[in-house]
């Protein structure tokens, strides 16, 4: 393996439409705050992109506590998109992120079709983000969220109105809680989404047998972590095979090898979510591991892995 270190560094760049990333490794929305929270552990400028926590027009209080529960190889969360609203986000978080040399993808939430677009417009007024990720798949809010992501009609509508609000790359984040994810992906692609991100969390539930109560105050929440990786990989593979636009893959990635698997399945970028909680340096570990992985196998461009699964 020492010999490997002498070999040339692989080209780690990938593209999501017009957005070029220095490497494929992004953060998964909601698991990395606005990036600043992780800056004691991670040099943010090494990341492919920072994807922010979801932001809505007005402040959202989120759901009652308890909001998380550990499950076998995963966790449930019912945070419920708690955020201080776009004004505060622009002033405090976006302004800070803009001082860094890293692409910023703002994850956008809304109670209504119109709200998504208004959030984007507000950010555009403030100078814009490098890309927007439209979350039509949060299982943790009653109005909004997943309801937009589980049927083609609403998914198209949200995409159309966001598309009208910005020229910048628009990534639509899909829900896995559907019969046919390809159908939804096609619907948003045909409305001008530049890329799709998947998967968001799977709707799940945990019960404390002793107290006979749900472990989450909201009863149900979103399942994430290694447990869902097989489902995420399958959906990435299905969508990447059916669509021409790039796919950002996520769901349980904790190692460079996981990232390779998602890229082989067709992902152009990958995002690290729940694994950040177990090891706050996971993003860097995956970037370094991916680079080494390519170098040791004479993969000249990491992009050569995209969709290279041999079936």
């Amino acid at each position: 393996m020492n010999a490997a270190d002498q070999r040339p560094s692989p080209d780690m760049r990938v593209r999501l439409g017009t957005l070029e990333l220095r490497n494929p490794v992004m953060t998964a929305s909601g698991t990395f705050g606005s990036g600043r929270e992780f800056s004691d552990f991670v040099d943010l400028e090494r990341l492919g992109a920072v994807v922010t926590k979801g932001v809505s027009m007005e402040p959202w209080p989120g759901n009652d506590s308890p909001r998380i529960a550990e499950t076998a190889s995963g966790m449930l969360n019912s945070i419920g998109l708690q955020n201080p609203g776009v004004e505060r986000f622009v002033e405090r978080d976006l302004a800070w992120l803009r001082t860094l040399d890293v692409p910023v993808v703002v994850n956008v939430s809304g109670h209504s079709t119109g709200e998504y677009a208004r959030v984007i417009e507000r950010i555009e007024q403030a100078g814009g983000a490098d890309a927007y990720e439209v979350n039509i798949s949060c299982p943790n809010v009653d109005a909004g969220g997943m309801v937009f992501g589980t049927a083609c009609g609403p998914a198209s509508e949200v995409t159309r109105s966001c598309r009208a609000a910005t020229q910048r790359p628009l990534i639509v984040k899909l829900s896995p809680n559907v019969t046919d994810v390809v159908e939804i992906a096609k619907a948003v692609a045909s409305e001008g989404a530049d890329a799709v991100a998947l998967i968001n969390t799977l709707l799940g539930m945990a019960i404390d047998a002793e107290s006979r109560r749900p472990k989450l105050a909201r009863v149900v929440g979103g399942l994430s972590g290694p447990a869902i990786k097989p489902i995420a990989l399958r959906m990435v593979w299905q969508v990447a095979a059916a669509l021409d636009i790039p796919v950002v893959g996520m769901g349980g990635i904790t190692t460079a090898e996981d990232a390779v698997e998602f890229m082989l399945a067709g992902a152009s970028g990958v995002a690290i979510g729940t694994a950040n909680f177990v090891d706050p340096t996971t993003t860097l570990r995956v970037i370094d591991g991916l680079t080494t992985w390519c170098r040791e196998r004479d993969v000249a461009r990491v992009a050569d892995l995209i969709g290279a699964l041999e079936t």
Binding site: G30, T31, F32, G33, E37, F38, D40, F41, K53, P61, G62, D64, S65, P66, R67, I68, A69, E70, S73, G74, M75, N77, I79, Q82, D208, E210, S211, R213, K215, A217, G225, P226, A227, T254, T274, N276, F277, V278, D279, P280, T281
Partner: protein, 276 residues
């Protein structure tokens, strides 16, 4: 004295440290003492802060577990833990020489109001853990320390020796009367607060107990700080799993707490569900 308990000097940023296990002893039924060789955390940790432990390295997914730093001795940190579920069971199986990784120091610890010269520490059960270092520190600073400590039974009065060593007075209550008086720690706490001697209260234990103590302090017109437990995923302010309802809105226990000025807490908010 009120807003002030919230202005913390920016404490040392947390680090990720690989720490060898020096000691892992059973100190009472279902309670362990874990001593880690953690020079970086040990140097910077303030009383009331906590660490986020990866109790098992390796293939299987397990969230970190938050634990208060009970004491610092040289470059070592001591953790008192109660065995409850999967994570603490794995902790109880750690052996000397095993290496686990620690994120810390995290959160805001206890702060002493400028003019306070006599502090009451109220410790319910494992609530004694985050008060150990604090009792020592207060005593070093020449602050008089009184302690009200409660536990189910005598053997479970963890850190009792420490308190007896540094405190002017330790009053004990146990559920079964096997040490001190029979009953809850709120009994001695109430007497000590009412005595008029103490000028500030620091409480940790079951949330209902903390609330009762906060009410007693409020009634007596003295400030009170509490240390709240919440389920925590990230421990560093990013995930919003650990929120606490306060008069200033939702706060994160991991970075805005775990120590809060009790007068700001909206107690109706739900704590960690009780353990079987």
């Amino acid at each position: 004295m009120t807003g002030e308990a919230h202005t913390h000097p920016r404490s040392h940023p947390p680090v990720l440290e690989s720490t060898p296990v020096v000691v892992n002893d059973r100190v009472a039924e279902g309670i362990g003492l874990l001593v880690l060789d953690a020079p970086l955390v040990a140097t910077h940790v303030q009383p009331g802060q906590f660490v986020h432990l990866r109790v098992a390295e390796g293939t299987d997914f397990i969230l970190r577990r938050p634990f208060s730093v009970h004491r610092v001795v040289g470059g070592r940190i001591e953790i008192l833990y109660q065995v409850l579920g999967r994570g603490t069971r794995q902790m109880s199986e750690l052996e000397q020489g095993d290496v686990i990784d620690v994120v810390g120091p995290l959160g805001n610890g206890w702060t002493l109001p400028d003019d306070a010269s006599h502090a009451l520490l109220v410790a319910g059960g494992l609530g004694a853990a985050p008060l150990g270092m604090w009792a020592e520190r207060l005593a070093e600073r020449g602050v008089a320390v009184s302690v009200a400590q409660g536990a189910p039974y005598s053997e479970r009065l963890v850190a009792r020796e420490l308190f007896e060593r540094v405190a002017r007075r330790v009053e004990i209550a146990t559920d079964d009367g096997s040490a001190g008086e029979r009953g809850f720690v709120t009994g001695p706490a109430e007497r000590l607060i009412r005595s008029g001697e103490v000028e500030v209260v620091f409480a940790c234990g079951p949330e209902r107990m903390q609330q009762a103590v906060a009410n007693l302090a409020a009634a007596a017109g003295i400030p009170c700080q509490v240390s709240l437990e919440r389920l925590m995923a990230c421990g560093i302010g990013a995930c919003l799993s650990c929120v606490v309802s306060t008069t200033e809105g939702l706060k994160r226990a991991c970075v805005d707490g775990p120590v809060f000025d009790a007068s700001t807490i909206k107690w109706e908010s739900s704590e960690v569900p009780p353990k079987h």
